[in-house]
Symmetry: C2
Subunit: 270 residues, 2 copies
């Protein structure tokens, strides 16, 4: 279950959604849609999910000031063990649950949704963008991406590598791979760490598909004013300085002529 949270890695603060209901239960976050904002304003209780993501664009205080509402930061324990309480509140009050990322990008939230349904609390989702569509800003075409993967932080002897096979699968079919990078708030995985972990696997497997010279893209703080895209080899990616969170990495498959042109236009080179 925990690996699923990587789905939020790479989602900047612009991303938001709402789960809401007739009697009433909501989800939302910053850079909210007009509809989302209206819902938040009529809510009695507003939770902000804080353990699978890093709020990108604003502070907790700025968010409270913008919404004109108190916001309850929900840590892992609150969301997982306290879910019953959140859902029960929604039987009596208007409740918003704010998340950075995709409504059903996390099993935790899918689970919350299902538990609410079991209690006959109708839930509404307000969608918003995520790195999964916003990544096209790097110049590559969305329909040239294969399966998305997540790269977890290695920890001592725990060095999972199964995501590498899926990158290779995509690569062999000429497809690009969006790699979502782990976050353990306030810690986030940089493209440097991701590249280093990939290079370690390349070396240990003597890989001929993905090598140190494979072209990739750093996609950083996408959707925020400080957004940056940079393309270089995996080897060079170890050393680039792309600044603060959140980072995502694209392993480029085979580009068509239009993508090559766009890449030159939209990405820096190292």
């Amino acid at each position: 279950m925990t690996s699923y949270k990587y789905y939020f890695a790479g989602y900047p603060g612009i991303v938001n959604y709402i789960l809401s209901s007739g009697n009433n239960f909501y989800f939302t976050c910053v850079d909210i849609t007009v509809k989302g904002l209206e819902i938040v304003k009529k809510c009695d209780l507003i939770f902000l999910e804080s353990y699978t993501s890093i709020l990108g664009g604003c502070s907790h205080q700025e968010l409270e000031s913008f919404y004109g509402k108190e916001i309850i930061v929900s840590d892992r324990e609150c969301v997982e063990s306290g879910a019953e309480r959140i859902i029960e509140s929604a039987g009596e009050k208007n409740v918003a649950f704010l998340v950075v990322g995709d409504p059903f990008g996390a099993t935790t939230h899918q689970d919350l949704f299902m538990r609410a349904m079991e209690k006959s609390v109708k839930v509404e989702v307000i969608h918003n963008t995520s790195i999964i569509n916003a990544i096209a800003s790097c110049g590559l075409w969305l329909y040239r991406f294969g399966e998305i993967i997540s790269i977890p932080f290695w920890d001592g002897e725990w060095r999972p590598t199964s995501f590498f096979d899926r990158i290779v699968d995509n690569f062999e079919r000429g497809l690009h791979t969006l790699c979502l990078l782990d976050i353990k708030p306030p810690r986030f995985m940089s493209v440097n760490v991701a590249a280093q972990q990939l290079l370690d696997i390349v070396q240990s497997r003597d890989s001929k598909d993905i090598t140190s010279q494979t072209q990739c893209i750093a996609a950083v703080r996408v959707g925020t004013p400080s957004q940056r895209f940079l393309t270089c080899t995996l080897e060079q990616m170890k050393e680039v300085d792309m600044g603060g969170p959140l980072h995502s990495l694209v392993v480029i498959g085979k580009m068509n002529a239009v993508e090559e042109e766009s890449l030159k236009c939209f990405c820096e080179t190292s």
Copy 2:
């Protein structure tokens, strides 16, 4: 180039984004973000791209009333041949370009972006949701999807089938396939037509991977109050009645236990 527009198929009216610039050039649409709305309100010229999508949630008049601004509907000729004019306006005025779908889901818009850059018109993109992330509302996990495909309307002898190979590729790897369905406004492809075209290919190829019994999902008007998800076999999908635009189709690969549970919770059965 034209096939690329299918990227918009399945995007409901909630989807929006903005291209904006210092001197000034913008993109946006309905169910806009708060940031997007602020930008539209300070724009002198607002274009609404109309030939790659069907505005889902509201009429042109409602949109004008909501924004408090006149909106210029941009047909294909206006966007493609008239792009120079749009970009030149952006040298002197604040210009918003509203699109249903993803900022760079269409080469046409990517091209507009690049042409603006060539003229030193800085362009800003405001992202929003799309079917590409909102599809997770059906209960399947986003990272269990493979390459996205587009199904074009067959026309007389013109019966392209190459997308089928990509569905099979995904299926053999256990991955789900999001099929974006063609639109030629005001005409849109229903899941019935999509299923029929797929079944024709299944039959002509004597396919053993994808068959008439393959499970799929109709995802209809996603993100709107009349959203529906229904799961059945490809054979049954020919006959279901899922109502008005826009429709998308998911060919299910291999589900894990959590996805199976979610599907039961989130999808109707036929």
